[in-house]
């Protein structure tokens, strides 16, 4: 199966409509920390890709409302999340680290090696 067909199949298997999650971006000297709010989504259901300096997030939310119950009121949607972020020029997309905990996806994106702060050793 080629990539497009696989991709399409994957997209169609997503149970819910996709919405843009809340995203927080913080920057320090070493790099960026991107935080996505994706309640209901576990580690194995996150699909994170980098392509052409774009960081793409898609999820396959397995969270389901309780079976045989009638929904009486809804204050938050049970949905999938999708968002693409353009990475800044200074970022090094080859060494991205990501983790998921308690419905929060944290992506650590370091800056390029030559932009990292470093201490200069003083020679005698």
């Amino acid at each position: 199966m080629n990539k497009e067909a696989k991709d399409l199949e994957k997209r169609c298997s997503y149970q819910y409509q996709s919405v843009t999650p809340s995203v927080y971006v913080a920057e320090d000297k070493e790099g960026y920390v991107i935080t996505y709010e994706i309640p209901g989504v576990g580690k194995e259901d996150v699909d994170l890709n980098v392509e052409n300096r774009t960081l793409m997030l898609r999820t396959d939310n397995k969270f389901s409302p309780p079976a045989d119950f009638k929904c009486m009121a809804r204050e938050f949607p049970v949905c999938n999340y999708a968002v693409s972020l353009d990475l800044p020029e200074q970022a090094d997309p080859t060494s991205i680290k990501a983790k998921v905990a308690n419905g929060i996806l944290t992506v650590k994106l370091p800056k390029r090696a030559e932009l990292q702060p470093r201490k200069i050793a003083i020679s005698q």
Binding site: Q17, V19, T20, P21, S22, Y24, A26, T35, E37, I38, P39, G40, V41, G42, F63, P65, P66, D68, F69, K70, C71, M72, A73, R74, E75, F76, P77, V78, C79, V100, N102, G103, I104
Partner: protein, 137 residues
């Protein structure tokens, strides 16, 4: 002592169901909207003949940050993150009235991926009982 300000919401009527039609929108706005309305943490309400289920959305919180108290026919939930410095360290308290009295001993709370599910079975006394009618001649 009881001067805590929290909203007393009874979500179990049809009007609320109509107002809360399924309408996914940006979660940042949603969180903001729920804060303004005093609905934090946001919740989804489900009911069946045997139990009531409430899902609370709280990404980034730990089970330690949450305090649940049961009243015979209401639940009080308080979210107060221990790590105040953290971004997204919202806190809130709300009291939710239930459509029937619940069995506190059989109530279960499960926290998974930022969603807390509270499952509260109906108490025996709240279940429908059939009354047999005696005839007197």
């Amino acid at each position: 002592m009881n001067n805590d300000k929290f909203f007393n919401i009874s979500p179990w009527n049809i009007l609320n169901e109509m107002l809360n039609a399924e309408r996914p929108f940006n979660s940042m706005f949603r969180t903001l909207a729920s804060r303004i309305e005093g609905r934090f943490p946001p919740a989804n309400f489900y009911v069946s003949d045997k139990a009531a289920v409430i899902d609370f959305e709280m990404p980034g919180k730990n089970p330690d940050d949450v305090d649940i108290k049961l009243e015979p026919q209401a639940v009080v939930i308080e979210v107060a993150p221990k790590d105040k410095a953290k971004e997204m360290s919202e806190s809130g308290k709300r009291r939710i009235e239930l459509p029937f009295s619940i069995d506190a001993d059989k109530t279960k709370a499960v926290f998974k991926n930022g969603i807390l599910r509270l499952e509260m079975p109906k108490s025996e006394s709240a279940k429908l009982k059939k009354i047999t009618i005696d005839t007197e001649n």
